[in-house]
Amino acid sequence: MSDNTSAARAAARPPLVDVRGLRVAFGSHEVVHGVSLRVTAGECVAIVGESGSGKSVTARALLGLAGTGARVGSDRLEVLGRELGDASERAWQQIRGRGIGLVLQDALVSLDPLRPIGREIDDALRIHGRMAPSARRSRVLDLLERVGMPDPPAAARRRSGELSGGLRQRALIASALALDPPLLIADEPTTALDVSVQARILALLADIRSAGTGLLLISHDLAVVGRLADRILVMRGGEVVEEGTTDQVLGSPSEPYTRALIAAVPADRPRGTALSRGARTGPAPASPSADVLPRNRRGDAPLLRLDEVSKSFSAPTGRLRAVDGVSLEIHRGETLGLVGESGSGKTTVARLALALAIPDSGTVLLDGTPWSALPERDRRPARSRIGAIYQDALSSFDPRWTVARILADARGLRVPRRDRNGSATGIADLLDSVGLDASVAGRRPLTLSGGQRQRVAIARALAAEPELLICDEPVSALDVTIQAQILDLLDRLQRERGLALLFISHDLGVVQHMSDRVAVMRSGRIIESGTAEAVFTRPQHPYTVQLLADSPRLAHRPA
């Protein structure tokens, strides 16, 4: 965490990167309008912004990698004391790797899948240096050791596909560090990772910074950045709208946009408070507790009940128990949050609840009547009672269909060809209820933004008027601000329609904000459950305690 003295120390050192008035344009379209930034040794500077804000392009311009057709101009572009304003490709090649290391979000595509990671790292040493092969080998092992890779000699022989997401990211960081660059640029380095893995990668980056390496961190998530950064630049529409020390930006932001970004972080925000600006919140509840309590009509039979349900799959190593004796209850109008890391069996629970998978043992009951035990023919008429939305909304739509057809199909209607805006079939109303304009009806989901796609997915689920909505990582692929809008939308819809939600996520902040009750899953079992308040303030199981500690949250919020 930063303080004023460390910032002052950083300012005294010569900068690793000193950029003034950086402009990047593609054709006639300028995407970065005069960005200035400095990073000194041992300092972590973060650029925060939504997708399309120009933060990644800015970072890439520092490596001379802005892309084909990009025109980069600047008043000053000094990297490691060299002016590179109009440097040749050759000059850039010397800077990359040796001067600046780059870590990207998706290590799976950044590492060659056919080559062992040891050779990937060795490549950087071989191309740039004149080290003897044996010296290179020990250097590779040192690097893997340094990034906390377990059993470096064995890991060096593995291919990237054989490693888990976290280890793969470590391997990528090791290859970026191979030539000891004074500056490391990390573009969304933890976005695709589980919270505990994310925490370990952030700790690793913090170590690297303490060792004197400058760090330029790019992220859309203020909560992630807050842990590590000394200074934060908030970018929007290709401009830096706010800049300051982490304490200043997070503690007393001056720009409304920064405040909106901070407000969008769901962790520690009470249930029912709007995360996005201009969210249409329903009739305000008299008091938060009065809003939450009447929905849990404990006397009623649960809407959905999983009773000692188990499901296993055959895996190369034998049977894999994906879900092992799980019992859950979801009541009308309440949200049950299901938290766990990848591979913990969350999605299998969702599939069991949707009866897309049938349990090996145990039963699933819908409204007190058999659900999993029914033959498909008898279950089909009742299927509309449970809806589902997924992480990747786009893949859940038939690629040939327009939004109007998708929604009409969900209602069991046929769309007349002429009815392009869907006014005749009530599709316009449905779109309106999820905050979309009726003009979206004639479009295909491929042409919509991520947030719009998820809204269409929600509209489709609502079209069948379900009582229970199963949300499997519905906001994990979205930017924080879009995530805030979708969470607000789900919250409003639940209020208006008395929907029950099974909300599955690896993100504790999101689950905390959305849920009345929470269940924590690990290795196919539920290890802890209770009211959201109890689980998040007084966690019992050590694993839950660890998860909570790892989960990024804002240390301080502006009043």
């Binding site: 939504e50 996005s276 600006r277 201009g278 949707l354 897309l356 089909r380 008429p381 009742a382 299927r383 509309s384 449970i386 809806g387 589902a388 997924y390 990747d392 893949s395 859940s396 739509f397 038939d398 690629p399 040939r400 327009t402 199909d409 969900a410 905050g435 304009d437 003009s439 979206v440 004639g442 479009r443 295909r444 491929l446 042409t447 919509l448 933004s449 947030g451 719009q452 489709r460 069948a464 601000t481 809008q485």
Partner: protein, 290 residues
């Protein structure tokens, strides 16, 4: 609505506009290909409308004339007009191409559906059949059929159809399998749609639409193969004016009279390109891109 949303809406609106425009105006290449296919259609149904003289009319005094205004594609060794013969051959060549592709596609569809819907045992069996068929080079398989049933246009068609079937079968099988396990099919199941409706609305259209382009590509390919068989004297027999047979007949005079082989060859190439371009345009239209 936040400013961000407004911006997204504006961007989206312009995308919508583009999409609508794309639907109204086909690309020039599509128009050209369409015009050529219409020309081929007319040549097939009413060849007399487009040829300049009887394709088999012999005029010994006009043998081996180079292309001119009187004979656009020149004349052959018997003084027959090459252009008219190319037109007369369109019907035969197209019929062979289209029927061979249909046979291959139909057989591929049967094998593909059996493999993907018939359970594990059938999938295993069908896959082995496909592999054995693949093991023979296409032309060898065709030759085998012709050896058994004798040369002629019908056998050539069946032979070419048979040899293309395993390729189609494999593609159809993998498409069906991936679509059946796709998220959108799952979403339809969650909505409570019956399996038959899911099959008709999602699985078959999405599996077969891309196969359709492949088939248009296949028509050209089948014409080339059938021409090859005719060239070897195993397909259409001279004096029939089939393109492959014309190539075969012209090869003797390749040094002196290039037009005997070049123009039928060009027709094969042009037909292949035109059907492919048109097929791709149809698929783009179906998937909403330009």
């Amino acid at each position: 609505m936040s400013e961000l949303e407004l911006r997204q809406t504006r961007v989206a609106a312009s995308a919508d506009h583009l999409e609508a425009r794309g639907r109204r105006f086909p690309l020039p290449s599509t128009l050209l290909a369409g015009a050529f296919v219409i020309f081929l259609g007319v040549s097939t149904v009413f060849p007399a409308l487009v040829w300049t003289q009887e394709p088999n009319a012999i005029e010994a005094t006009e043998a081996f004339e180079a292309p001119s205004l009187a004979h656009w594609f020149g004349t052959d060794e018997s003084g027959r007009d090459v252009y008219s013969r190319v037109i007369a051959g369109t019907g035969t060549s197209l019929l062979i191409g289209v029927s061979a592709t249909s046979i291959g596609l139909l057989l591929g569809l049967v094998l593909g559906v059996l493999a993907s819907f018939g359970g594990r045992v059938l999938d295993f069996g069908v896959n082995r059949v496909i592999e054995v068929m693949f093991a023979f080079p296409g032309l060898l398989l065709a030759l085998l059929v012709i050896v058994v049933y004798g040369p002629g246009p019908v056998t050539a068609t069946v032979a070419v159809g048979l040899s293309t079937a395993p390729g189609y079968a494999r593609i159809i099988r993998s498409r069906l399998l991936s679509i059946r396990s796709s998220h959108y099919v799952e979403a339809a199941r969650v909505l409570g749609h019956p399996a038959s409706a899911i099959l008709a609305r999602h699985v078959l259209p999405n599996a077969l639409l891309p196969i359709f382009v492949l088939a248009t590509l296949g028509v050209g390919q089948a014409i080339v193969w059938a021409s090859a068989l005719s060239y070897l004297g195993l397909g259409a027999q001279p004096p029939a004016a089939e393109w492959g047979a014309m190539l075969a007949a012209g090869r003797t005079y390749l040094a002196g009279a290039w037009w005997l082989t070049v123009f039928p060859g060009l027709m094969i190439v042009a037909t292949t390109i035109a059907t492919t371009v048109l097929g791709r345009a149809l698929v783009r239209h179906g998937s909403g891109q330009r």
